[in-house]
Symmetry: C2
Subunit: 546 residues, 2 copies
């Protein structure tokens, strides 16, 4: 028999899952909170809605239309939040441009996304001047003066605030197909050209609901909720600042946008506005701790979700000692990004700081509706026993359906109907995910895989070592051997013996294979990083393993 369908009333409202409805929720609950940008702007949710309408009106006045890509190059601001809503709500596609990419790559991504309108902060005018001749499709640029009196460049149609003040707040937003693309941006990864991912209205609404559910009912650590004051510390160009601005807006929270990340300012905003929830990568957390020490800022009670790369245990311990509430998350550009967060810890885990640190530095529990499995090289599922490790495969309602204009990579991403993360993970009997390695960073030696992330953590605790990365170097006898690339602590001259000491202890404890013992290391002044702050192992391999 066929499936049964409802005999719907002609006028029944077929509620589409669109971004406009997230904003309507904030209005329905009549938030009295404010949205703040540095020392420059502070307005109510009512004003925010008006400014979202103004942005749409001004974009329309310069030719923006449904299906058109509107790109943004800005620091984290109230303007960016306005763009998060106005651009998708009018049926256009918001491209969040990674301003830290090399200039030619920025031009590449604007071309690939077919950006026709660009909103650009004055700090990035030189980039626009350098690349605009290569962008024949770019029809209009809006300059963002950001509170400073500047001459609007001749190539711009106007200045954001000036145009906003003249535009109508009453843009007639209409319902859209929930499967239309809302946002796109490019992930750099560490190999090849940047790859464009995209997300539909439906996907972003479901991501927001799942985030609310996981932060809420699932009782994860460092959870945002009603009463919190939110400040992003992951750039808004990067995977929608992990989707939290949409959630914070839906909940009607007070939001603080910090502009360019300046450590002393971040500390001041935290105190002035009583910020209680942020999210960032571990390098930003490290920077925050240093800035807080320098400015004597009290960090107690600040909830922070750390993601993008493994959270070092010592950093977690240090933040906790200052009274911060730390959780970790796992996700990637292709996943929207929500996949997992550190779930509720057992009382036994909370009772023992070492067990707490172990649990908090895992990647966590899957969010509602996330399906995950680990597989071997033939895509055969492996057991969830905490030991077996294989490539993590995902399904969720908000994963990118493919890469922009890049069919080969799209097919590879979704081979077999599961999203291939290229992360090597284990999953324990409680469903907790642990990321062990990147597929391409795996070190195979003596017939075994070495957990390079764990090996890096161990080396980082060695005497005289400030930071460490481990890469594979070819080896005739062993196939590959691990090589540690380290930054020495000031004045220290670390030896191979010292560096191996924590590794040998871990071998004795059975934590890591005996093949992990290092035969070689290199000292560098700085570890090369990608534009999103991950250690660039491709460059390390080019430097030391070629």
């Amino acid at each position: 028999m066929p499936l049964r369908y409802a005999d719907a009333a002609t006028e029944a409202y077929a509620f589409p899952l669109t971004i406009r409805h997230l904003l309507k929720t904030a209005l329905a609950t009549a938030s009295a909170e404010r949205i703040v940008y540095r020392d420059q702007a502070s307005y109510s949710y009512g004003d925010f809605v008006g400014r979202v309408g103004r942005l749409a009106s001004m974009l329309q006045s310069i030719g923006a239309d449904q299906g058109m890509t509107v790109a943004v190059m800005d620091w984290d601001s109230h303007r960016y939040l306005e763009a998060y809503f106005a651009i998708p709500m009018m049926g256009a596609v918001l491209q969040t441009v990674n301003v830290r990419m090399p200039v030619p790559q920025i031009a590449f991504t604007l071309q690939k996304a077919q950006a026709e309108i660009l909103l650009v902060h004055r700090d990035f005018f030189p980039i626009v001047e350098a690349v605009r001749s290569e962008l024949p499709g770019l029809k209009a640029v809006i300059a963002i003066a950001d509170g400073v009196a500047i001459d609007t460049p001749a190539w711009a149609v106007g200045e954001y605030e000036a145009m906003s003040s003249l535009a109508s707040p009453d843009y007639p937003f209409e319902d859209l197909d929930e499967n239309a693309i809302a946002t796109t941006f490019f992930t750099t990864g560490t190999t090849g050209d940047p790859k464009g991912v995209c997300f539909t209205h439906r996907q972003l609404v479901l991501h927001t609901l799942a985030l609310a559910g996981q932060f809420g009912a699932a009782r994860v650590t460092a959870a945002i909720g009603m009463g919190d004051v939110y400040m992003p510390l992951t750039p808004m160009f990067h995977v929608h600042a992990w989707g939290v601005p949409y959630l914070a807006t839906m909940l009607g929270l007070k939001q603080v946008y910090p502009g360019r990340y300046e450590p002393a300012l971040l500390c001041r905003l935290r105190v002035e506005h009583g910020v209680t929830y942020s999210h960032c990568v571990s390098t930003i957390l490290e920077m925050l701790l240093q800035a807080a020490e320098a400015t004597r800022t009290d960090l107690a009670g600040w909830k922070i979700t750390v993601g993008a790369a493994a959270l070092p245990r010592q950093l977690c311990a240090k933040a906790r000692a200052l009274g911060m509430e730390i959780g970790t998350g796992y996700g990637m550009s292709e996943t929207g990004p929500l996949i997992a967060r550190t779930g509720p810890l057992s009382p036994e885990e909370w009772d023992d700081e070492e067990a707490t640190l172990t649990a908090l530095t895992l990647a966590g529990m899957p969010a509602p509706l996330v399906e995950m499995m680990i597989v071997d090289e033939e895509m055969k599922p492996l057991p969830h026993d905490g030991e077996a490790r294989g490539e993590l495969m995902l399904r969720a309602p908000w994963l990118t359906p493919g890469y922009v204009d890049s069919d080969g990579a799209s097919a590879e991403l979704w081979r077999g109907g599961w999203l291939h993360t290229q992360d090597i993970a284990s999953i324990d009997s409680q469903g907790r995910l642990r990321i062990r390695d990147r597929l391409k960073d795996v070190i195979k030696t003596g017939g075994e895989w070495i957990d390079s992330i764990l090996l890096e953590e161990l080396v980082a605790t060695a005497e005289g070592v400030a930071d460490a990365a481990v890469i594979a170097v070819p080896d005739e006898r062993w196939n590959e051997r691990p090589l540690a690339v380290i930054i020495a602590t000031p004045g220290a001259v670390p030896t191979l013996e010292a560096i191996n000491a924590p590794v040998l202890r871990a071998i004795t404890r059975g934590q890591i294979t005996k093949y992990a013992k290092l035969g070689r290391f290199e000292i560098v002044a700085e570890l090369p990083r990608t534009s999103v702050g991950k250690i660039d192992k491709k460059r390390l391999r080019a430097m030391f393993a070629a």
Copy 2:
């Protein structure tokens, strides 16, 4: 320009929002909790999944197919939970039968829903025997012995547990269209034939996510979450027990199903299993408090959401004095039911017990994605100022798209693209909803509407009054006048003066119009109620206002 759509990879998984995925979430997080039924059953989530497969297999073996309606008549049980999943997951439609309806109405609803298979608890065998001759479409009945040795009736194809034990746990569930109907049931209301509502897979998944988000990030009072032990106290036939079994399963919580509600047993289950979250109507809460007193059961810490009808202030105060955490909710059969719950209270509200009671007995804040407005008789929106009152209109992704086989009523329900609740409400400047009256119970007198719910509350506090209802009676001069129908406290002989005393005080305080002063009252031994426990004003009007 047309909207932009993603260039999806051929193998990209188009994740449908289906009930199967709620169950998969429970498995992904590897819940170690148990599902309990009275003293009769206790099993793991792994076993639950096997039993869901078995139920699907046994239904298939007797001819169940996609699109077919499978009806259930049972008390709240693990079996019912199995049916919540297995029946929609196989593409069939689960009909939850209101076993408290008069027998002819039960037959009517089975006919209307085109039920072809029926699962029936032995307590309801007499009903089946009485009506099965009127149900030519009914192809097979499965009898539920519920732990007692009985002879399976000749009209049944077998007994639930016996069939389950022989069936395969590995039913090949497949992905379904998320817009297929998953559940249907009939709402009695107080007028006319029962009306069938239905909900799709997509709607139930979104309802579950919104519930998780509201219970969580929105910090409502009496919220369920990880670590809670759940026991429903709203029948599972009634609006999916408010959708909480789906949420509790998705979260992998320990769940306790109490069977037929027996007060002493409920208290024992609460203690034995450490139940921390339930939901019910106020009459059940009242019954619980009495049973707890009789059995000396400690109720402290038990979180309860009260809904379906206004929570009397005194009952809320009594429960709070015993250490219970009380919240209220608003919804109706047509809405799935989630619409609103008491939101986070301000510190000032928590500091003052009277203010706390006022806030807790409101209907609350709208859930994520719920849009609401109040309108006058021309459907013109009224201000959200806490004063203006009009019919509450709703939109949300999970409202029934219409009534089963009842087009006129469907069109009326959705007139103008909004769901008409027939509830008169006000919404304050903070977005908080207060239900004032039922549209059809409104009393219009002297050109003003009297808030009959408030008037009932006032009368109920009068000396000598145990319970009260207020209805309109026709009046030549005033159009309508209020009439109080009361139950006297044992031994009391209340006077009109005594009954009017709290009303007059409220008039003096400006809480209610002066036209609310009563000119007449009637004493009854019992207030007539509908099958879901609401006061049946239609019958009262027939008795006193005809």
